[in-house]
């Protein structure tokens, strides 16, 4: 088992190095000069603009050779110093991300997990009952095929703007301070419901369809037929089918959880939710290369950690992995 994890960790470290290198390089290859956009913030006269350009060229480290900038970036990662955001200047990138990540986490993690649990359960039920298959399956196709922004705007329009049942924008009401009080929590939850529901319903269909197909496949496999021929109760067969079917779904869950740090740009725009998705959007449209690097770094770390966790979970839930590892050790 030690060899298995050492091998996995080595692969993850190599992947991290390659991904971080790409993360550092890609923003620098984008068209346009990030300093040009940044200097518009100062509305300076031509002479002052030249002075400021020289100042910031140095301050942002663009005067250093590329290899040095690359090494500084690695040094920054180890010290969690990701530089200063150009768009949110003079706020450090790490602080900007810290201000936004929890809103994204609070929205996406519950939506992903709830959609996973409910979707898988619905899919499994649909696979074994004709009535449910004829209702859940088309409904799931309809939901997952609906353009998300359209669905979200319908929710916002009817439940928010028209019927005034729920607030349709922002993470909390204007004039509210995000501090740890019941007033704030109530306010936060009230604003959380609509974006959560929009994500939950859209994600739900995909999980349900996936699980329904996987269960049908498993029920048609040799071991299921063998169990049935041995006279095993149908419930037992279904349990084994579910256990096998859930494995690929777990991988999907890990990937979904790993990439949640990238936020949900459309959700955050439709509901004006100040999350990481908006950060990405602002970073890219304003050529803020440091914020881009920081945000993508978060995604890299998220995906790798989620994959590592799922590797461990696989060992726990899939006896075949355990057996193959023991075989490898033997």
């Amino acid at each position: 088992m030690r060899r298995y994890f050492l091998k996995k960790i080595s692969i993850y470290l190599l992947t991290f190095w390659v991904a971080v290198t790409i993360d550092w390089g890609i923003p620098r290859l984008m068209p346009g000069n990030p300093l040009q956009v940044f200097l518009l913030k100062f509305r300076a006269q031509p002479d002052a603009a030249k002075y400021l350009q020289a100042y910031f060229y140095k301050a942002f480290g663009f005067n250093e050779p590329l290899w040095k900038q690359y090494l500084y970036y690695w040094d920054g990662i180890f010290h969690w110093n990701l530089g200063v955001s150009m768009f949110y200047y003079p706020t450090p990138v790490a602080t900007v991300i810290g201000q936004h990540i929890f809103y994204t986490m609070g929205l996406l993690v519950p939506a992903i997990i709830c959609a996973y649990f409910v979707g898988n359960r619905l899919g499994a039920m649909a696979a074994r009952r004709k009535v449910l298959d004829n209702s859940i399956l088309p409904a799931s196709y309809l939901i997952s095929g609906t353009p998300y922004q359209w669905f979200a705007m319908l929710l916002a329009f009817f439940l928010g703007a028209l019927w005034h049942l729920l607030p349709e924008s922002n993470a909390f009401a204007f004039g509210t301070t995000p501090v740890w009080t019941w007033t704030f929590i109530g306010n936060f939850l009230e604003h959380w419901i609509l974006p959560f529901l929009s994500l939950f319903f859209i994600m739900l269909g995909g999980w349900a369809i996936g699980m329904r197909n996987l269960i049908i496949y498993e029920l048609e496999s040799d071991y299921a037929h063998w169990l049935q021929m041995l006279g095993s109760p149908a419930r037992l067969v279904r349990r084994y089918a579910y256990r096998n079917a859930v494995l690929p779904q777990l991988t999907g869950l890990a990937l979904a959880l790993g990439t949640f740090v990238a936020g949900q740009i459309v959700t955050e725009i439709v509901f004006n939710y100040q999350g990481v998705g908006l950060l990405f959007f602002n970073a890219i449209t304003n050529s803020d290369i440091f914020l881009m690097q920081g945000a993508f770094l978060l995604v890299i770390i998220g995906v790798l950690v989620a994959n590592f966790v799922i590797d461990i979970v696989y060992v726990l839930v899939d006896p075949r992995t355990r057996v193959s590892m023991m075989g490898a050790e033997g």
Partner: protein, 595 residues
């Protein structure tokens, strides 16, 4: 067994849901409370005005020298200018200054009002730290000489010195500099010179880039950092503000206790927030607002609480001139007849009617603002001006040696009103035989395209409004043209290389304006006439329409917003940088009362 398992599943789901919510909630609360002091938790709308339409990112800077990035209110609520400019009446109003006048062509004497206090922010108890004196004005002026990065560094070429005796300031100039100084008087806020609580001991880098998160300022409100977060910036009224005691200004004071300006969102969110009364003042472009003012709501009742400055077209005050900006350094835009053909091909009325649903006005061929109407040389407009005519456009196109190249017209993606206008212009150009394409790159790419001179046509509106057209022509004709035009002047590249000697002549005329006293009206008008003639003859820019000073008000919570019909309070209803602190928005806000 099945029932027990189901219960377990639901239990697990509930725990997971609760757990995945509690962690971020705890983090949000902890992060915020670590940096906040005495939060109000919730500001009551009965005592708070909410606005939007200015900020596109969370507020992070309150440094008045960071003119393009400071949070709403930094100039106007916190830091103030010596004079205000009212574009509706085209008059200057003494603000921090009691009076000011030229005593010779190179000497200006101004007197500050007495009793102006420097006050700390709410977190520091709104304590009075000191009084504003002439020394603060001198400090601010002299920064132009000592800080090469300051945004008004051009003043260094004009000013030879400034001295203060008490509240009287004497500024001496190397040469007459009427326009540069006039701009300083109403555009540049006065800074605290104290080394104890002010900016006296700040180095140049700090002066230009420090966030100034605990501002000590003179204005009518103080920064309320406890209630400022990633969604909004909030201010609390300053009980020590000097304005309330000034009879000549009508003893302005605010009836509200707080003002919050919220981060700009998408149009649909902003419109809903506005229609539901969450936002009182929207300075965003809201498509279809004219229809909503008149139409019935889905619920059957009318939006009776919504209004704009004018009750009928154009609904909005004009904010600036929108040009179709040709890149004169590229073919075929370098050809005058081609530019004339384009100018005649564009149907500006269609843009006003279809794109803007009459929220704005079409531009005069000179592009001079409605408030600058008296400066328009009507004879020059009659002789050289252009108007929509397909026949003229086709005739000019024939003379232009146009080879059928495709030209692009660009504006940043997401600027929906401009994108729609470009689509209409492309159609117009195709209608006369010009191959044109719309291009909607990111804001960053579009800016680089313009500054590097790689674009064909762009839509642009960056000449600021002022009492006379000096700023307008300065923006249009400033020389020299740099390889990268990082200052936002002469983006079209009107210079000797593109149009010949007339470029130098135009720039010399602009400099003449700066050297001609404001009181020499006839001489100044003669210069304006010459500049307008050059503009109309050479078409460095093609004025199309006047961008609106977007302002929609809701009277759900606050009433007495500025209206053209109210005789006594014709003030600007706009919170944008350059308007709140330089024009008369503060006076407009002082009129507000509970609904």
């Amino acid at each position: 067994m099945f029932a027990r398992k189901k219960k377990g599943f639901l239990g697990v789901a509930a725990v997971v849901l609760a757990g995945s919510l509690v962690v971020p909630l705890l983090a949000i609360g902890t992060t915020a409370s670590a940096t906040t002091v005495r939060p109000h938790v919730t500001l009551s709308h009965a005592n708070t005005v909410f606005s939007s339409g200015v900020m596109y990112s969370p507020p992070t800077v309150w440094n008045p020298n960071a003119q393009g990035s400071f949070a709403t209110g930094t100039e106007g609520f916190l830091y103030e200018t010596l004079f205000l400019y009212n574009p509706i009446t085209n008059k200057y109003i003494p603000w921090l200054a009691n009076s000011g006048k030229w005593t010779s062509t190179t000497k200006y004497v101004l007197t500050l009002r007495g009793g102006i206090k420097w006050v700390s922010d709410v977190a520091n108890g709104q304590a009075v730290k000191g009084f504003m004196t002439g020394a603060d004005v001198v400090f601010t002026i002299m920064l132009a000489k000592t800080d090469p990065g300051i945004y008004y560094s051009n003043l260094a070429n004009d000013v030879s010195g400034a001295t203060a005796v008490g509240n009287t300031v004497t500024v001496t100039f190397k040469h007459p500099a009427a326009e540069d100084w006039q701009s300083f008087l109403y555009q540049d806020p006065i800074l605290p010179s104290s080394s104890v609580y002010g900016m006296g001991d700040w180095n140049n880098a700090e002066l230009n880039t420090d966030a100034n998160a605990a501002p000590v300022a003179s204005g009518p409100m103080s920064l309320d950092s406890a209630n400022t977060n990633s969604e909004e910036v909030c201010y609390t009224t300053n009980p020590n503000w000097w304005g309330a005691n000034v009879k000549s200004l009508g003893n302005p004071s605010f009836k509200f206790g707080h003002w919050c300006d919220t981060v700009n969102s998408s149009n649909n969110v902003e419109l809903t927030d506005f229609l539901t009364g969450a936002i009182d003042l929207s300075n965003n472009f809201l498509p279809g607002i004219a229809a909503l003012i008149h139409a019935a709501s889905p619920g059957g009742s009318t939006y009776g609480n919504i209004s704009t400055y004018y009750p009928r077209p154009p609904y909005m005050l004009s904010a600036n001139t929108v040009w179709l900006e040709p890149n004169l350094s590229k073919k075929p835009m370098s050809n005058l007849y081609f530019r004339k053909a384009v100018a005649a091909a564009v149907n500006e009325s269609q843009i006003v009617n279809v794109d803007y649903t009459n929220l704005v006005d079409a531009s005069n061929p000179t592009g001079l603002m409605p408030s600058q109407k008296s400066y328009i040389d009507t004879a020059a407009v009659k002789q050289y001006g252009f108007s929509f005519s397909k026949a003229t456009a086709k005739a000019d196109l024939k003379k232009s040696n146009y080879k059928g190249q495709t030209v692009t017209i660009e504006c940043p993606a997401g600027w929906t009103d401009w994108m729609a206008a470009i689509n209409l212009i492309v159609k117009d150009l195709k209608g006369v035989g010009i191959k044109a394409e719309a291009l909607f790159p990111s804001y960053a790419t579009r800016t680089s395209d313009i500054e590097d001179g790689t674009y064909d046509f762009a839509i642009d509106n960056n000449a600021s409004i002022a009492a006379d057209p000096y700023n307008y022509f300065y923006r249009m004709f400033r020389l020299p043209v740099q390889k990268v035009q990082s200052a936002q002047d002469n983006w079209e590249r009107f210079d000797a290389a593109t149009v010949g000697g007339v470029a130098g002549k135009a720039w010399a005329l602009v400099k003449d304006l700066n050297a001609t006293a404001m009181t020499a009206k006839t001489a100044r008008q003669a210069i304006f006439n010459k500049l307008e003639t050059i503009e109309l003859q050479y078409l460095p820019e093609i004025p199309v329409w006047y961008n609106g000073a977007w302002a929609q008000y809701s009277a759900s919570h606050w009433k007495h917003w500025p209206h053209s019909t109210a005789k006594g309070d014709q003030y600007t209803p706009v919170m944008w940088a350059g308007w709140l602190g330089q024009m008369t928005t503060v006076l407009a806000l002082a009129q507000l009362a509970h609904s």
